[in-house]
Symmetry: C2
Subunit: 333 residues, 2 copies
DNA sequence: CCCATTCATCGAAGCGCTTCGACACATGAG
DNA sequence: CTCATGTGTCGAAGCGCTTCGATGAATGGG
């Protein structure tokens, strides 16, 4: 538990026999430094195990090198995707030499206010943005660089990133239509998610409905417990006996849907074709392996950080809609 | 997008007609300040919307008011519990006026080194600690205040928090024994979790085995896909036809186990009693509602932060083992 | 009524870093 | 050979805050 005196830039400068400012310039690369000096400094840095003091750096440069990741942890959220996303954000931020401050919704919008005003972070990454998200107006007047995951109703002037869920929904419907299915259904997110007006759920539904307008198509919300899923699936087939195509946009329920079909004696893909919108690993672990449109959580996180970094550098950053990709496996024909 | 000049403590001092240091003392409460002055300053703070600059504060006080939450995001982890835990950590940290920096394992142990050396954080909270965790030795020599969630093999000198999983395992076995069951089984975590030497899984197993030494007890690992769970359950009953009690310590598999029992025509609790170790909401959502020992994620997070804060204040902090609590519902008799 | 305390406040010295302007020296054009 | 132009380096001035010691003013005991 030795309490080591921390190494400062002055120690490095002394060790290398140069001025403090020279060390700073070597580290930041903001001015030309001769190769010999640069090497000498770098060696001293290594020898002393120097790490710049974050507070001092932030104070002097007005850049904290930290971004906030705001995760409103609500019910019915897709945890695995969220985690993948968070991991990817942290990893990407590190690549840009930034760290990530974790915030939840508990503190409310004032939390954003606080971290921005205290210069704790340089920018904000908001996840799980809703169609009319209360954080959006605040965000506008805060004038803090930010990127949203998901699209609010009015995205004017904001930078947003998301999978193009409308295309994803359409892609699923089109795939089933191409397979000759005329009567299909969408099993969506839990009811509360729609009631909350969550963008991605609504947009998937819209894309699906639009693409399936010439078919016999229905859409129902879907809870995530086995019993409720089984009930929903049973009801669906009772009401639509001719149903042969199913799109499942609810990762937690995917397994249950397959189990329920099994229980009803309908085999996949012989009797029913199933397409899921979920991460690849979930689709691959299912039995049979599911034809799916993946949610590219990693890519979304990566893009979001990239855009935020661009904004921090004062560059323009347009919203990004990621093109969905359908992978055909064993659950459709 | 107006770029507001940030309000500094000097602005507040001027507005209130006092010295900068007086404002500082009002804010920190480290020296006596007359009631009238205090009020005047607090009003100015509110009027100007002042938020102390985090970098400057950290630099001057040598306290960043930030703690690191290190989440190694591995396969087979219990995501919902993890999230609950993270949420509780953030909320509790805020109550102590601290923020939370999110770190993953990707950066390796040097990441810990880095954030500690750069004074980005004041302390570390390590989650999902393994029996022989590579981060533990580094932690010791770092001399940075830290709290671990979970117990490594050698916890000497470290502060750890966890549910007493051995007691939890024992509690389940005892409950079944008290119900007259003589042949019981533990369905555990996925195999990889044991192979990795994850403390909580091993300790539950140990507690269960010890408490069930007079019974006919077996324990098997359990994967998390429906097919594998069904297979495991089937095999279990093939080999042990007299089995009437089941302990499930795998949240992701709980639903599948019930589905598999249903498929095998064994009803709960008539033919088989089932006890789960999982959060209450999962147990309550199952059908039938499960008798369970809950994983008090929220409490663990809370305690962990409390202990870390104590250490930051130079106070001693002993490890905490949380007593499990069994809730009887409809799945056992 | 004086001196020793206590209380409330102030001023100034850093904390460790970035960045601006200055300077010494080398270089090549005229 | 001189003068403009780069190059590479240095010194010093902050960045916004905390904290130490000092200073007056108010208080009370002898």
């Amino acid at each position: 538990m030795r309490k080591v005196r921390t190494v400062t830039i002055a120690d490095v400068a002394r060790h290398a026999g140069v001025a403090v400012s020279t060390v700073s310039y070597v580290l930041s690369g903001k001015r030309a430094i001769s190769a010999t000096t640069r090497q000498r400094v770098q060696e001293s840095v290594r020898a002393l195990g120097y790490h710049p003091n974050a507070g001092a750096r932030a104070l002097a440069s007005k850049r904290a090198n930290v971004i906030a990741l705001v995760l409103p942890l609500r019910a019915g959220m897709n945890l695995p995707v969220l985690m993948q996303f968070a991991t990817s954000v942290v990893a990407t931020a590190r690549r840009y030499d930034h760290d990530v401050l974790l915030m939840t919704a508990d503190e409310g919008p004032e939390g954003l206010q606080r971290v921005a005003a205290s210069a704790l972070v340089d920018g904000l990454l908001l996840m799980d943005v809703e169609v009319r998200d209360p954080r959006v107006p605040l965000l506008r007047e805060l004038g803090e660089p930010s990127v949203l995951i998901g699209f609010p109703a009015d995205a004017e002037g904001l930078t947003c990133v998301d999978l193009d869920f409308a295309r994803a929904g359409a892609l699923c419907a089109e795939h089933l239509a191409a397979g000759g299915h005329r009567e299909i259904a969408l099993l969506g997110a839990p009811r509360v998610v729609y009631e909350r007006g969550t963008g991605y759920a609504e947009r998937t539904l819209a894309g699906f409905t639009e693409a399936a307008r010439d078919l016999n198509a229905v859409a129902v919300p879907c809870e995530e417990t086995y019993d409720e899923v089984a009930e929903t699936v049973k009801l669906l087939f009772d009401r639509h006996p001719g149903l042969t195509g199913l799109v499942v946009h609810n990762e937690a329920a995917v397994g249950h849907v397959l189990a329920a079909l099994r229980a009803l004696g309908r085999s996949v893909p012989e009797d029913v074709s199933v397409v899921a919108i979920c991460p690849d690993d979930v689709a691959e672990r299912a039995s049979p392996a599911l034809t799916s449109v993946l949610i590219p959580a990693e890519d979304v996180g990566h893009q979001a950080v990239r855009l935020l970094m661009a904004k921090l550098d004062g560059l323009p950053a347009d919203s990004v809609l990621l093109e969905p990709r359908l992978t055909i496996r064993e659950s459709t024909r």
